[in-house]
């Protein structure tokens, strides 16, 4: 969730009330945002150095609250201080809208463009900073680190339309990037910014493409090289009066959302909002942007009331929904419906379920009638494998062993090499992108976890007796998800002696509790219908030669090898640093 820092005094002035921290926290809670911190209560030097800030956490889908303007506006509407503004485009004075001509080559790299002109804008330092910060937040969140959408802003009075959106070879593009003095071409620019902390991480989006997207004005002045950087020539300053915003994208929906948010947040500081004509016939994206009309939808009165457990009339519902920015009128065609206008700020509204939630928020979640949902009883049942697992766990603990819970992710080495087991590369599920280096695979054995647990408990008095009953996972290409979990049980003993008979005794105890009789190997092999278990010597490199046994089980007329135990090989002990 993004956290937005806003000036406390300015926000309370906008809300026309001096809130205490508790009161404001309560307001945030009711509205569904979260007051993270009020820096007036902080003693950190960096907080004391600036006017008190409120750090507010915003839900990830509320792009309309990523700056001071949006938070103030939405809370004012919620508090019924004002109705949500209606934004409209004004025709340009000369009748000729600014135009962007899109060249077909852009389809190869970044096919979409949108934009808007804010005319007669009045920047202050605060507004300017907020304008820059909002673009940054949108780039981080909705735009997925500029991959999907990126924004460029320009002083309209320094450039001349019509503009062209093109895709050219890096060497062909030459300009002075923002806040630089040297002219460079696309290729040089990549090298120049490679080490740049801020911009370096965006270079990969276009670096290896044969063509880079670029926007020129009528004089071949470069406006920007999206999604990396703008040109220095057209940069906006505090004195800029007329702003041209261009937004390039891969995603058709998100490019317009970004446009809407910028207009809704900063259009209020401008004398007029002017549309831009995008000329893009090759992909049928020729249009005038932005379209600031609200989206019309319908919501069922009974649905809204049923799910919230309320029983309010359409006018009452409409009044509540206005607090959330909607314009609502009972439907002219059918009284069971409400006509709902969804403002451009509310890209998160997809379904009448979203309207219903806002209805509940406006009414107050904590004021809703709380009626127990149990109209029909249900019958409880445990998952059989968990029930069986619990029986084994309880019996192991009752026999004097201690349950441990190591992690499921581990390294290849621990899982294979350290146990003298071969890794064929196709047994274990392999992680593609772990942040922590030792998490490479999903364990296929419980043993490494037990041994690591003993290793961290070497200070503990011996004997140490530990067990775990939990899942391991294997690659299984016959499954839909190409893998299969198995519930395993494992125990380990460390003492002054090997404890072979201790482990053997635990096995006997658990088998007895699972109603499985100990039979001789001869009996078991002779008659597979005779249920029971036995152990027989087996060679297993994890264990000391001659001191490991396979556990054999006859059940349901079949013989299975269900496990192995033995004295761990000294080389295994050395790997887990237990010797």
């Amino acid at each position: 969730m993004p956290t937005i820092s806003v000036d406390k005094a300015a926000l309370f002035k906008a809300l026309e009330k001096e809130y205490t921290t508790e009161e404001f926290d309560e307001l945030c809670f009711e509205f569904g945002i979260e007051l993270d911190e009020d820096t007036s209560q902080s003693k950190k030097p960096e907080d004391l150095a600036q006017p008190p800030q409120l750090k507010i956490e915003i839900p990830a889908n509320r792009y309309d609250m990523l700056c001071f303007e949006g938070i103030a506006m939405n809370l004012r509407v919620f508090l019924e201080k004002e109705k949500l503004p209606k934004w409209t485009v004004t025709p340009p004075a000369n009748g000729q809208p600014e135009t962007i001509i899109v060249k077909e080559e852009t389809s190869k790299i970044r096919p979409l463009i949108s934009g808007v002109v804010l005319r007669g804008i009045e920047f202050t330092q605060e507004r300017y900073d907020s304008f820059i910060a909002l673009q940054d937040k949108l780039h981080q969140n909705l735009a997925r680190q500029r991959t999907l959408v990126s924004i460029g802003t320009h002083d309209l009075d320094t450039i001349k339309g019509p503009y062209t959106y093109e895709a050219l070879a890096p060497e062909q593009i030459e300009f002075v990037p923002l806040n630089q003095t040297q002219k460079m071409n696309g290729k040089q620019l990549m090298e120049f910014y490679e080490k740049d902390k801020h911009l370096g991480r965006y270079l990969h989006i276009i670096r290896d493409s044969p063509v880079y997207p670029v926007i020129y004005d009528a004089n071949r002045t470069v406006l920007s090289l999206p999604p990396i950087i703008n040109g220095d020539h057209s940069k906006i300053t505090l004195n800029t009066k007329n702003v041209l915003i261009e937004i390039t994208a891969l995603d058709k929906t998100k490019v317009e959302i970004v446009n809407h948010i910028l207009v809704a947040m900063f259009g209020g500081y401008a004398e007029s909002i002017e549309a831009i004509h995008v000329d893009s016939p090759h992909n049928r994206e020729s249009r005038d942007v932005p379209n600031l009309g609200p989206r019309e939808m319908q919501a069922e009165v009974t649905y809204l009331n049923e799910v919230t457990g309320l029983n309010l009339s359409p006018p009452e519902i409409s009044k509540l929904l206005e607090k959330m920015g909607y314009t609502v009128t009972p439907s002219s065609s059918d009284e069971k419906y409400l006509d709902v206008s969804v403002p451009i700020t509310r890209a998160d509204v997809l379904h009448q379920a979203d309207v219903m939630e806002d209805y509940a928020i406006a009414y107050g979640f904590n004021n809703l009638p709380r009626v127990y949902p149990n109209k029909s009883a249900a019958v409880a049942a445990p998952l059989p494998i968990n029930k069986l697992g619990d029986i084994v766990r309880f019996e192991a603990a009752a026999a004097g062993w201690n349950e441990v819970m190591p992690l499921i992710l581990c390294s290849r080495e621990e899982n294979f090499d350290w146990l003298n087991r071969k890794d064929d590369g196709t047994t274990a599920i392999t992680l593609a992108n772990p942040k922590t280096v030792e998490y490479q695979i999903v364990r296929t054995s419980l043993l490494p976890g037990l041994l690591k647990t003993i290793n961290s408990n070497r200070h503990h008095a011996v004997p140490i007796k530990v067990f775990e009953s939990s899942d391991v996972s294997y690659v299984d290409l016959t499954q839909e998800r190409k893998s299969r979990n198995e519930r395993h049980f494992a125990a380990a003993f460390m003492g002054k002696t090997s404890g072979f008979e201790q482990i053997h005794g635990l096995l006997d105890r658990i088998m007895a509790m699972l109603k499985s009789a100990f039979i001789t190997r001869e009996e078991g092999l002779q008659n597979v219908k005779l249920d029971g278990y036995w152990i027989e010597e087996v060679e297993d490199p994890t264990f000391l030669k001659g001191h490991s046994a396979a556990i054999k089980l006859n059940i349901g007329g079949k013989n299975h090898t269900i496990g192995v135990f033995g004295i761990l090989h000294p080389s295994v002990l050395r790997k887990f640093e237990l010797s």
Binding site: Y372, K375, N433, R484
Partner: protein, 535 residues
Amino acid sequence: MSGGTRGAVPLHTKNTVAQDMLTHLFTKPTLNSAEDFPSVPQPEIKAALDRLASRSMVEYVTIDSEQATLTPEAEAIVQEGSHEFKVWSAVKQAGRIAIKDLPNFVGADSARVGSGNAFKNKWIKKDGDSLVLVAEEVKDVTRDRLREIQDTKTLSDAKLLNDYKKRKLVTFSKVISYTINKGPKYAIEMPVEVTDLTVEMIASGEWEKANFKGYNFAALGAPQNAGSLHPLNKVRTEFRTLFFNLGFTEMPTGHFVDSAFWNFEALYVPQQHPARDAQDTFFISYPPKSDKPRADPYTDNTLDDIEAGARRLYAANEKRKRVPRDYEAYWENIKAVHENGGDFGSIGYRYSWSEDEALRLVLRTHTTAVSTAVLHRLAEDPRPARYFSIDRVFRNETVDATHLAEFHQVEGVIADFGLTLGGLMRFLEDFFSKMGIDGLRFKPAYNPYTEPSMEIFGYHTGLGKWVEIGNSGMFRPEMLEPMGLPRDMRVYGFGLSLERPTMIKYGVSNIRELLGHKVDLGFIQSNPAVRLDKN
């Protein structure tokens, strides 16, 4: 190991001090330890008395007193006489001693201190530069008084005693002595004691006259070498019991790996959602990709078996129709609901949905992936149902005190007709009150697959503030309707981690001390049984 580390006080019958006391008491009714055992150190006397008193063989009273002890200088005076006496004796013997020669006769110390006092006492006088006798006979009072102190350890003239202390002739020390009398079970000899009741003693009847060793009731008993269950699993057991009491059926969570389809797409998480970043989700490099969703007979049979009872119980007389799942249609519905909302009352996310992205394998980031498959199955025969699971989930987190790359998710799902949001709150109030958390508050929140979504806050008295204890909501129509569930069936979902309430409840501040191989075995062994309702 046998026997307690702090069992009954061991009895050594050959203890001579104890035996001496018994012997003395036979002839003398009251003993004073200072008089009768002057050479036995006090701790030994005390130990012997405790042994005997614990068996009621003696009774004793402790006497605290101060006693005066002579310093080495004073002891020398008792031996040889005071300095003034030594000077007087020397003068008497010699008849006349030159003052400068006096140290040769009595030593420097006595010469310096002694002559002054001898003048004061008018025992000697100066004659020119020599000393001559005045008194023919003298009484050495100082020596007599010091001898009295040596004998009685005190002096009746308290002022003088204090004077001696100042002159560093005596020191005072605290002395503990005891007055000892016979106890009700007094005997001249230590009786033979038995430490435990044995089968042989019962058989022989010897137990009737046996003298049992006293037990030290202040000590701990013998350690039990007990086995133990992991604290986190003990909390898990409490949650499972709670779910069973509320009529929930456990879901089959036996696969750590899921496809993006089940983990994200089916939950209406769009393909560009930040949760699907490599920063948050573990993607699988091998095996390379999932199959499209299809029937899973093993899991279906498991669920059929455990639900068979409930089905019979509620079937009554109605014949219920079961429409088999159509996985191909489900796949297409999900694609449509993402791209344009399909026929499900939504405008969709309006992007181009990639099949390859949906078939990527991930380590499940939540058990809701399993709930989704179970709800899809419910669409075969939509009926009220409650499901829960508690199992491991995975997040590609940077490990720190509050984050591990894996943890346990506790999740509950309730499907029914006509559910309301307030009903979910009421249910959660009841659920959490059984964990001893009352007075919940609900905060509107965002979650891609629930609408409305609510964060659950409980007041933590220890921390003195509201803390988030879980998440909840009603699943979105875009998630439920593509499965084929009817529009009027609504589904609650709620979840929390198993680790967080355990850490809050038991004051564990570092998650690595609770889950993983670094957990201390001592912590596992000593952690009390868990009763969430009783703290």
